[in-house]
Symmetry: C2
């Protein structure tokens, strides 16, 4: 048996997105009385809400997210508690807790600001040493309760991508993982021909 913790933000009409992105529209377009069924239609960019970035987002790589092995999107999770760090830095103790093929989750608690414009402009960033450490450890994915691990020109994004580490952005509920020793992350993207995908991201705990 497993217990699930939802790490995903809600998708709803006109939700706040990155200032450079177009708005999300979610609306009912079929009605039970007239059309014999209800239906909602969604218009969304692949970086709205909780989503996964692949290298094609910032490079000329040709691999769409639906071509990446499913094994990349699920596996052992590893939470790093980095609250109160505006520049999230490498610490020696991480050598003992992060392992190859982990899905590392950075808990900043910055998701408190999710839904505001400020969330996208004043967020913490991670430094080169920490990114180098993740590359050296060969982790699968790096997730966080932030809109991005860095800012323009996205050096950290590009370093991770160059080493096939995918990035999960806009997570929430990470406080629920703080005292849990063993959990898995399940973060399958849509099977979509795109450079990223909105996703339902779940922590799974064996009970």
């Amino acid at each position: 048996m497993s217990k699930f913790i939802d790490l995903s933000q809600d998708i709803f009409d006109n939700m706040v997105v990155h200032p450079y992105d177009d708005k999300v529209k979610l609306y009912k377009d079929k009605y039970l009385e007239e059309d014999k069924y209800n239906n909602f239609r969604l218009e969304i960019g692949m970086h709205a809400g909780t989503h996964i970035d692949t290298p094609m987002h910032l490079t000329n790589r040709k691999t769409f997210i639906n071509e990446i092995s499913l094994e990349k999107f699920a596996g052992k999770g590893c939470l790093l508690d980095v609250r109160d760090e505006s520049i999230i830095s490498f610490k020696q103790e991480y050598k003992d807790v992060v392992n190859e093929n982990d899905i590392v989750i950075l808990f900043t608690n910055y998701s408190d600001k999710y839904g505001t414009e400020e969330y996208y402009t004043t967020h913490p960033v991670i430094n080169d040493d920490l990114a180098d450490f993740f590359v050296e450890k060969n982790i699968k994915m790096l997730g966080m309760d932030l809109p991005s691990p860095d800012k323009y020109p996205f050096k950290i994004h590009k370093k991770l991508f160059a080493n096939n580490i995918l990035i999960i952005e806009n997570l929430t509920n990470l406080s629920k993982l703080v005292n849990i020793n063993n959990f898995n992350i399940i973060a399958f993207p849509l099977k979509i021909k795109a450079e990223a995908s909105i996703a339902r991201v779940i922590a799974s705990i064996d009970i």
Copy 2:
């Protein structure tokens, strides 16, 4: 360790959808050279490709799919091989293989016709006895490689919904499950305020 089998259809621009639904649009709207990043935007109804129906699709129920417990969308799978049945009927042997809370998957092989208009009009349907059996067993979800378990006026849909059984439509790759005794289904929908959701549906096998 788990091995994953992808049971999902691809999402791509102008993919064939149900004749009553609006078209899917998937297009690149940001370009690395001009915009500093690549992005794709998706316009889609929640019943395109592989997706999960909830009662609100055909009834006046007020529960959106993002309000349904995650436990409903994952669990033990049970494959019923129903190839060559145009009316998919109850069989006594199912009493020994289907259990409470299973996610039952009907393998019709009709996904061979996916992508054609015919797929939506001439598909097999399930009969009342089989639907009654699923209700009696209290299964979590019923999945299938069909666009629907029935046709207008959707009596089977409504019977399943009245008993809180969700429906997964437009699965594929089910032949890969035929000789597997134990598998789990992972079918988390988007966390979306809608009556259904496109979804990545996976079979997970312990290895």
